[in-house]
Each structure stands twice: as C-alpha cells, then as structure tokens.
Symmetry: none
Subunit: 202 residues, 4 copies
DNA sequence: CATGAATGAGACTTCATTCAT
DNA sequence: CATGAATGAAGTCTCATTCAT
C-alpha cells in the first residue's frame, strides 16, 4: 500500500498548484486570475497545470472542493462531539471562524463564489448549494431536537439555522476585513450568546 | 420646466440600458457579461451603449449606484420614522427585504459584487465599503442609544449591528433562492423577534 | 451672374468646413482626426459635413487641393513676373515661404501627405505627384534656358530644380518648428545665395 | 557564449516580425496597418506578435529605432573618417543615399513619420527630433570649423547644414520614386558639387 | 513528465456613415 | 437644409488551451 512514485509526484504537483491557485484566485477573483499567474505562483510552467487539470474552471473548482470538504468534516466532527444545542452552536461557529482564520486564502475564493452561486446561475451552483444546505441541515436538526426536548422555545428551526449561519458568516467577513478587534473566542461567545438568548427567551 | 426632447431620449435610453444591464449582469456576473449582451437585451446596437456610458465599468457601476442610493434612502427614511430600537430594527429589515424583493435583478448584481468587495481588492471597494459601513453605523448608533437608555442590556453595539445586517442579508438570499415559504412580514417578524430577544434577555 | 442664395450658402459652408478641416487635420493628422472634430470646429453638426462632402477622404482632399492650386498659382505668377533665373528662383522660394507662413495649418497637412505620397501608395499619389512635378518643371525649364543662354554654368537642370525645391522645403519646416530665428527675407536670401553661387561658380 | 536556444528563437521572431512590420508599415503607414497584417506577413498569428512586443506602437517604434541607430552610426563613422569639410559632406550624403538604397522599406516608414513629426505632435516627436538634430549638428560643427579655418567663406553654419540635409533627402526621395536615372555616385557628386560651390564661391 | 511558444477566439472600444426628424 | 442619435465594422489586445520539443 505504499504510494507509487507516480502517485507521490501527482500529489506533490496538485497540492502545489492548488495552493497557488487559492492564493491567486483569492487575490484576483476567478475571471481576472490567469493560468499563467497560477503556474508562476506554483513555480511550474503553464503546460504543467494542464497535465493535472483539464481547464481553469477545473483548477478553480478543485481549489474550492477540497476546502469545502475539509471544513465540512471539521464542523461535523465538532458538532457531533458536542452535547447540548448551545454547545453544538458554539462548535459550529468556532469551527467556521477557526477554519477560515487559518485558511484566509480559501475564504477569499469561497465567499464570493458561494454568494454568487446563491444568486446567479453558475456551473458550481448545485455543488455549492448541496454543501451549503447540508451544513444548514445539521444545525436545523439539532435545533428541532432541542425544541422537541423543550430545551429552547418553539422557533422555526430552519430559519434559526440560517440565522446562525449568516451571523457566523458576517463575523468571518468582519475579521477578514480587519473590522474586528476581538479574538475569535470573543466573537464566538458574542454570537452564541446573542443567538442563544434569542432562542431561549420566552 | 418641461424636459426637452433630448433629455427624454437620454432618460429613455439610459433607463433601458441600465435595466438590461442589471438583467445581464445579474445573470452572468460582471466579467462574463459583454457589452453586446447588454446592448442586445436593451434592443440597441453596441455603439449606442457607448453614447450613454463611457465604459463597461461605467454601465456596471451606474447600474449599482442608483439602486444603492435608492435603497439607502429608503432605509434611512424608514428608520428615522421609527421610535424605539425594536421599531428601528424592524424598519431596517423590512426596508431591505421589500426593496430587494421588488428589485431582484439589482440584488443579483449587488450581492456578489458587494461580497467580493468585502474580500478582494476591486475598483468599487471603497464606494461599496462606504455604503455598507454607513448602513451599519445607522444601526450601531441606534443600538448604542438604546443601551444607554437602558432599553436593552449592554451589548457590543457594532457587533450587534453587523448581526442584524447579516441575518437580514441571509433572509433575502433565502427568499431569492426560493428556499423560503414564508411571507416578507413573517420573515421580518422572525428576524426581529430573534434579534430583539437576543438583545434584551438578561 | 449674381450667385444664387443657394450657391452662397454652399460657399459659406464649404469654406467653413474646409478651414476647420485644415486646422484639425493639421493638428492630428488624417487618421486621428474625426469628422466630429471637424464638424465641431466648424460649428456645424456631423451630418452637415456629409451634405457637402461625400466622405472624410473627400474633405481631406478638398482641403489639400484648394491650397495646392492657390499656392501653385501664386508661384507661377511670381515666377512669370521675374526676368532672370536668379529672380525666378527668388520668386519661387519667396512664394513658398510666404504662402506657408500665412497658411501654417495648410502646411501641416500638406507636408506629411505630400511626403507620404512620395513613398507610399495612396489615393492622392497621382494628383500630388502631378502638382509636385509641375512645380519642378517650372524651375527646370527656367534653369535649362539659363544654361542655354550661358547665364549659368552647365548644370543638370532637373537635379538643380529638385535641389531648389528641397532647400525651400527644408526652410519652411525649420520655420514651422521654430528652429529658425531669421526673417523670411533672410531665409530667402540665404537660399538664393547658396543656390545661385552653386549654379554659377565655375 | 553560444546564444541559447531561446535567444535564437527570440532573435528569429523579432527579426521576422520587424521585417514584416517594415514592409507593412511602409506600404500602408502606421494607422492603416493592422497587427494582423504584420502577423500574417511574418507568417505568425496575431498573438505571437504580442509575445515579442507590447503594442502596435512598440512594433512600429522598434522597426524605426533600429534603422535610425544603424544609419546614424554609419554616418558618424564615415564623417569621422573624412578629413576636409568637402569630404565630410560627401561622406554624409553618401552614407544616407547608400543606406536608404539598401533599406528601402525602412525609408518608407522613416520618411513619412519623420516628416510628420516635424510638423504634427506625435508620440515619437522627441525621439525623432533628437536623432534629426544630432545629425544636423554634426554637419553644423564641421561647417563652423571650416569657416573658422577659412576653408570656406563665412556662411550660416546651421542653415547650410540643413541645406545639406534637405538636398540629400530630396535625392533619396527622387531615387525611390524612380525619378532619377543617375547612379548614387553621380547623385552624390552633383549634390556635393552644388553645395560646395555654394559654400566656397566668394 | 515538463515546458513555454504559438494560437486564435473573443472582448472592449472607436468612429465613418446613415437617416428619421 | 440641418441635426445628431444610431449603427456596426474593424481594430487592438488578452489569455485559455494546445503541442512540438
């Protein structure tokens, strides 16, 4: 089960290219970024990129997909490790904030494309929709159970799930823009506090 | 003070082009949209667009600017007409939801560009940042006053202002994607309820 | 034989347009000048230019032709009025220098087009060639006669004619560029002196 | 110190493109020539031209610059090798006539642009002015020295320098237009004779 | 495998010319 | 006659993609 030399090389190249792609796409956006930019940032020739990816679009999507899966995994794992809804919400918010803080380049591509997909018709729409809704559903489920158990008042679970999502998203944006002076922990606490009080107050 | 024939024509053309532009930009995004697309959608020739706008960028920005100012005005007017913070928040959310519901095309351009600007360096960044922060500041001020008066508990006013903004934004997105089955009024009530309880609960 | 109103108007318009055309073409050259430039300079609308000229090229050529004929007439008249070859040469040089000094705009169009025609294949080539060679021939003839009469030494008449032309041309260029500090009379005297001595010295 | 493969290719391409450019610009002039014309004449695709030059203007200027420097070098070298003023003038005229005879395409671009620059405001004006005046100054200096030494009569050195230039220029033009039946040597002798007699006759 | 020179489709923009008013 | 809004052909330049080395 030792990876062959060939596999190692492929791994090495794709990883380098994707990393460069995230940086370049993050800085310039999809359209204004050129394959040459990415190749140069990855320290390879333009042709090499095409040895590993079929098109610019492919590179882009791959540079998104990996991050999306990573982040999704992290969020799910953390939420599953949490007991109460409050803890689950905290796990959700923390996961997102920490992940994007550690992968700012990724956020810079993810965010615009994600929002664009929500509104325009793009090739990635379905995939992104799926990833998005899956995350929302995780929260939705947890909220519904909490309502059922009487842990919180009766709230529209889906709408609240979206609200959690949106507030989290907003916090990340503020942090990235340098509009936030607080620590991640403080931001998390604020969001969880606001949302939790919003959910529990009768 | 009757508008001259020339003014009427200019009015007619710019309005037609801008409307077409919003549709096309909304569908394809700035980069993928071509002047030819817009011209054809407006029922004029390519050159005609350049009689009224100096560049593609100009058309784009104009199609954004008008909406931004309109919306901003509407929001400010409604908030000023509101007494308590709760009413102000309700005014804010209602204004946004109603406006974007009535101007879906506009939202489709506004949203991605707006989000992109938050994260990437674009030519519109400063203008959009300005418009955005102005709106946030409106809320922030109202919240700070409410805290001072003891109407709500002590909350970080700016962070809450952002939260109001983000939740509103999320609602609009959901509505546009057809993920929402509720009426605008219901959406507003939900958001205000959640936020208000979040702010007041001790 | 009183010109009709119609003729007067035509006269008025064409003259205004041509004058404007000379200024604009002189400043920008044929390709970079636009019909709009000319129309605006003439104080009429673009369409009006097309009432009197069939095309941009027509305007250009007309703005050249008139000047060429004028100048040619002036030169011929002055030379015919001169007795000796030296006087004829002086008449030639004076005519050119004075005319172009009084019609700088015209020179600015004439010169490049003229030189271009000498070397590239343009639509005006034949006409310009004709005008050019006619002038040269005037000089050539006078020189040949002077040689025959023994007034000057035996020189290749055509070549000398060209030399007179070229030196004159050079003087005009220098004057227009502001490289000359001498008066027209001084320039003429210098040229005639140099050429005359060149022709007579044994 | 063997040139690398890349350098050889670059050399090959730039040379091919420049050669094609000179032909096309020579035939059509700067404005009417298109990059596509040049590319096709060079046997490459449009994009290839842009691999080696940043703009049409660049191609043009490069196709001028090389020739200007070459010619300038040749003239200076020949004049420096000449002893008396008469020899220097002969060197000057010979250099120009021979060079342009050997590089007709170059003359076809050089001449109109050069003359245009003398009269209109173009981007190349300064560079061409510089090259022009430098050549004139060479002659001027030699003439002034000859006057000082009493080798020729007292003449305005600059004006005579221009005259040498202009007569030379005229000869080249006549040759290129096929109006001349004499050899280069004969043309040179004629010009030098005429000018020299013009300068020395008391 | 890797390279990067070459390609050519396609975008923005200008402007000569037309024509309805 | 005069106007100037409208047109669309044509030009410059970019860049995703290919392919010979």
């Amino acid at each position: 089960m030792v990876p062959s030399k060939k596999q190692l090389l492929t791994q090495f190249r794709t990883s380098g290219i994707l990393q460069a792609a995230r940086r370049v796409f993050g800085e310039k956006g999809y359209e204004r970024a050129t394959i040459d930019d990415i190749a140069r940032a990855a320290g390879v020739a333009k042709g090499t990129v095409y040895l590993y990816y079929r098109s610019k679009r492919d590179v882009y999507w791959e540079s998104l997909r990996q991050g999306i899966l990573d982040l999704s995994d992290d969020t799910v794992r953390r939420m599953n490790g949490a007991g109460t809804l409050e803890e689950k919400v905290r796990a959700f918010v923390t996961s997102k904030l920490e992940y994007f803080d550690a992968h700012k380049d990724f956020f810079r591509i993810y965010q615009p494309e994600f929002r664009k997909a929500l509104v325009q018709h793009t090739a990635f729409q379905k995939q992104l929709d799926g990833a998005y809704l899956e995350q929302v559903r995780l929260l939705e489920l947890a909220i519904r159970q909490a309502v059922r158990k009487g842990a919180i008042r009766s709230v529209p679970s889906r709408a609240v799930a979206f609200a959690v999502f949106d507030i989290t998203w907003g916090l990340i944006t503020q942090r990235l823009r340098g509009w936030s002076e607080s620590s991640i922990a403080e931001d998390v606490s604020f969001a969880v506090d606001l949302l939790w009080k919003g959910m529990t107050e009768r």
